[in-house]
Symmetry: C2
Subunit: 411 residues, 2 copies
């Protein structure tokens, strides 16, 4: 049995969700638990109910829509992603995976297909971590990685708490924010957010795992002196030391191979004046690699570079690794199911490792997880320019439908 | 004839001026044309009048107090500096030179000394350039370097214009903001703001000139990509290029000798997020050297480094040199007068070039100018920690008094 989703309906679903929080430039500004997020959730719930799915909301706002299976004892297959967006982000990141999961159920309904296992569609709360940190908050609570009550207390830049926003928009649900039964498997369709599929000319990506990562912050403290009157040899210039480390971090991946990436994304200088020697600099690192040992070794090297640069320039240094995530290798069962579905549909599929973390990272701790990547034009994401063609949305959603049917087993 | 200023009165003058805009930590927050600046000006005017000086205010807020000379046709000797401070700066920078000039007149009064030339005390408007750019604004307008009406229109961060603040605090005076007659000479006492005097164990500095400088801003424009999914070789990271240039600028002075300094003081990253490759970086350079040719050559090298780094990293670049100042060599007459006064008083004096620009830079275009430096403890300035001992204040003010008397000629 082969499913063929309704391409026009998928386009309509993507377009309609994109109207909630739409920006003037064709992007999406739909921060977690904002009014726009609430509107998108209300719309999703209505569409799930219209598809005869039974909807429940858990205590962290994760929304589930259940299509019952033939076997009342069978563990369900979970499909989904997230509806929240980056600030002025794109319309595909996350949302495509949620509406594709809904479209899978609509196609099963149209074709009158019963499955042995139940299928559930899920929208995870606050994947992006833009308004409230951390990222992947809802799936992390549900999977038991994060403490629910601690996450309730997280605040945005205005001091507003997660729990109060859940209450305000009516999405602190009655169901416990945890798996209410054993789950069989989870599939998440997501845009690649990188250039690998486009570069390879592939139709769809079969994700074999998710990189491990290390995020940290370095604080360098020197002395603010007058730029005109302080000889070079008497300075303790925090920015000079930070520049040395930035250059070293740029070179790090060369030692570890192509799939390792390292970035200084954020850097702040104080007092940040043309004629004052920089006293304090704070900057972040972001290192990712498929092997956890590589991430650890790269992080060690960064710390050694910080010590060396700070010593050379005579500045004090503090290093804080504030986030680590182990790499995830998806099990053969889900990976091969996705690969087989793509192959049966005649798509050119590329096996690849995800350089970005996803809700699937957390869910992989609960059940067999897998991911399908849709092509990202020019590799762009987290910007209004993010784009995936309708052909590529359709291909990926078709793979999701057929892989989900395999896992849920035609009854 | 040798003058000996009143040390206790000098201490009182320094302390009293420091009460207008005093910070909790013993510093001074007295931005140009603020309420605190107005209070300090009102106090100065009262003290000048109490010293029988005739006070006038020019159309740019520069305050003059005149002690008449015996010869009605003689060109006056001008003494002074500025009362405005850096944000949370120290109590000596600028203010010491103004109150020392007043103290010189009070000492002349006490000793009943008449001079052939008039002596004028001056407080220049907005030397620091912290609230309104550029620096040395009042002396620049007075000396004809800046156009008065254009400077009136300069605004602070809140959009408030200079001219409106002059009116608000009552310091847009009736006198033209220009030399109303030929001036004989100008002496400015200022703290060194560097470590040379303390390092040499000197009591006072004889300033032979002021460095030339070049200030500029570089904008590097790359592409904001996802840090996890974008391979290193496909990135255009503006911060990596900026780090390369920062390191190159740190090394520049090595090619030109000890008195050349080069700094990146300010650097801003956009979007400045841990997991987004930096798209745009703006940073400033500040290069100073005693020889203008060195400043030009160093600036050329910076521009070449920017081009090279931007090309390596695949980012676009723009370079704007927004301020240049030629170096100033003070004439032998004023320099030797200061050196002779220090010598006669038995002080250990060090000849040195100023690494900071001062109002004397502009006044040097109008008449013979010279400067006296007081010792800066630990070379610190533009900070609340700025400190000069009372002994060092006294020594420098005594040199000012005796050099001024030489220039003004006992009648």
């Amino acid at each position: 049995m082969r499913l063929d989703i309704d391409r026009d309906r998928l386009v309509e679903l993507v377009r309609t969700q994109a109207s909630f929080g739409a920006t003037d430039d064709g992007g999406l500004h739909r921060l977690a638990l904002s009014d726009a997020d609430a509107d998108a959730r209300d719309w999703l719930v209505a569409r799930l109910e219209a598809a005869d799915l039974s909807v429940r909301v858990d205590a962290f706002g994760n929304v589930f829509g259940r299509r019952e299976g033939a076997d009342p004892d069978a563990a369900p297959v979970l499909l989904g992603s997230h509806l929240d967006s980056q600030p002025y982000g794109g319309i595909y990141d996350g949302a495509l995976g949620v509406v594709a999961a809904l479209e899978v159920c609509l196609t099963l309904n149209d074709d009158g297909v019963r499955t042995r296992r139940p299928i559930e569609v899920v929208n995870w709360t606050n994947e992006e971590g833009s308004r409230f940190q951390p990222t992947m908050q809802g799936s992390g609570v549900w999977a038991g990685e994060f403490d629910r009550d601690a996450q309730y207390e997280r605040t945005d830049d205005d001091g507003v708490r997660v729990v109060d926003e859940l209450d305000r928009i009516g999405y602190r649900g009655d169901h416990p924010a945890e798996p209410r039964e054993p789950y069989d498997s989870y599939l998440e369709l997501h845009i690649e957010q990188g250039p690998a599929l486009e570069t390879a000319g592939a139709d769809v990506g079969v994700v074999t795992g998710i990189v491990g990562l290390s995020w940290g912050e370095v604080t360098l403290s020197g002395r603010s002196d007058h730029t005109g009157t302080t000889p070079m040899h008497l300075r303790a210039d925090a920015l000079v030391a930070a520049a040395d480390v930035t250059t070293a971090i740029r070179r790090l991946p060369g030692a570890f191979g192509e799939r390792t990436v390292a970035t200084v994304g954020s850097l702040d200088v104080s007092p940040n004046s043309v004629n004052i020697v920089p006293e304090e600099v704070q900057f972040t690192w972001d290192v990712r690699a498929p092997a956890d040992a590589t991430v650890r070794e790269a992080t060690d090297r960064i710390e050694r570079e910080v010590t060396a640069a700070a010593t050379r320039e005579g500045v004090a240094h503090e290093v804080e690794q504030f986030l680590t995530a182990s790499s995830v290798a998806f099990p053969d069962r889900t990976v091969s199911t996705v690969a087989t579905a793509a192959d049966r549909l005649g798509y050119e599929a590329l096996d690849l490792f995800s350089g970005a973390a996803h809700d699937a990272s957390h869910v992989a701790g609960v059940c067999d997880a897998g991911m399908i990547f849709a092509v990202s034009d020019d590799g762009r994401s987290h910007t209004e320019d993010e784009h995936t063609s309708w052909d590529d949305c359709y291909s990926a959603a078709n793979v999701l439908a057929n892989a989900a049917l395999d896992l849920a087993e035609p009854a």
